[in-house]
């Protein structure tokens, strides 16, 4: 099996594994980590496609590769924003739950501060 196909299939599985984590994890920071696994799967898939586009003496299609660099940096910015939101939620309420029936208790915590 060629490297792009192998890593493309690996990427498809990474997206699946990450998606499962995003859905089932109750802890938001774990969700953020799982979302980054999904993201890296998408990036690797695009990288495999870029590698298949090798032509004209270049070892890969440089256009998707350049977009990947942009994508990875923006993914980090989004992760940093998500983490900052989470830290603020924890500071304000003392809890990090995302479930719908928690606000009453969270409100009580906020009053204590």
């Amino acid at each position: 099996m060629s490297a792009p196909t192998l890593f493309g299939l690996c990427a498809a599985l990474l997206v699946g594994v990450g998606l499962f984590g995003v859905i089932v994890h109750p802890h938001p920071l774990r969700k953020i980590l799982a979302f980054n696994v999904v993201g890296s799967g998408v990036f690797v898939l695009m990288g495999a496609i870029a590698r298949r586009g090798a032509a004209a003496g270049l070892s890969g299609d440089p256009v998707p590769q350049a977009l990947l660099i942009t994508g990875i940096v923006v993914a980090f910015a989004a992760t940093a924003l998500a983490v900052a939101l989470l830290v603020r939620l924890f500071e304000a309420t003392g809890s990090i739950t995302l479930s719908a029936d928690a606000p009453a208790q969270a409100q009580g915590d906020a009053d204590d501060l």
Partner: protein, 313 residues
Amino acid sequence: MIELLNAGVAVLILALAIFIILARELFAAGVAFVAYGLLITLLWVQLHGADVALIEAAIGGGLTGALVIGTARRLRASEALACAARVSMPARVIAALVAGTVAAALAACVLALPDPAPTLAPQVAVNIAPTGVGNPITAVLLAFRAMDTLLEAIVLIFALIAVWSLAPDSVWGGRPGPRHQADPHGILAYVARILPPIGIIIGIYIFWAGADHPGGKFQGATILAAMWLLVAWAGFIDAPPINRKWLRLVLITGPLVFVAIGLLGAVSAGAFFAFPEGYGKPLILAIEWALMPSLALTLALLMAGAPQRTASQ
């Protein structure tokens, strides 16, 4: 032989991804994510994306991993609470089915990709000469698709503004994050003294080499940001208050120079980001030089988070 190595890397990456999802402790998952990022870097090398490998090693494994591990420490008290709210078994089965379906659909797409693959490489190879740079990825980032890169630089600033806006009113304009303290004779302080001179040179070299070889401003800026964070976490320096004029000036200089050069093209060559004949390389280097400090500072401040203390604390 190399196929065996590739298969080994793919299996290790999948195993680590599963560990990240299933690990009991947040901290363990964060550490596994760093190892996972480094293995993905190997994968990029095997896919012949050296530039992407550099950014993955610096950001994917490095900064994101450090961010999660640092946050996991601050949120330690919350872990037990969140774990109490477990998702029920039927919901887990449905989630596994959904995830499996998505993965299977993507795998089918991978196996059905057209042959020969569509590619823009020949167009890049033909048009790279007038830009004057030797690294095709730099040519794409700063000449052919300069608009994407400009918007990315602006997105980073917006993300930083969004992070800052999470500050409580009382500390607006203050210093981000808690003041870090470390044992002055400990290993962290030792590494923070030894590593930055080497890291700064490597960061600047990767930036400098980016015009003609793998590397560039994003990779270099990330390494510089990491060096600053190392020194800050060892407690040698403190994060600057975010209301400082110089700080905001450095943040916006890069994108402003980028926009100005784009407008220059609109006036002198007839299109936004069209470079006048023969001035391609100097203008590309000017953008890189202007963006580098802005990017390094933006990434470091994104890591530091929202202001939590007043300037005097």
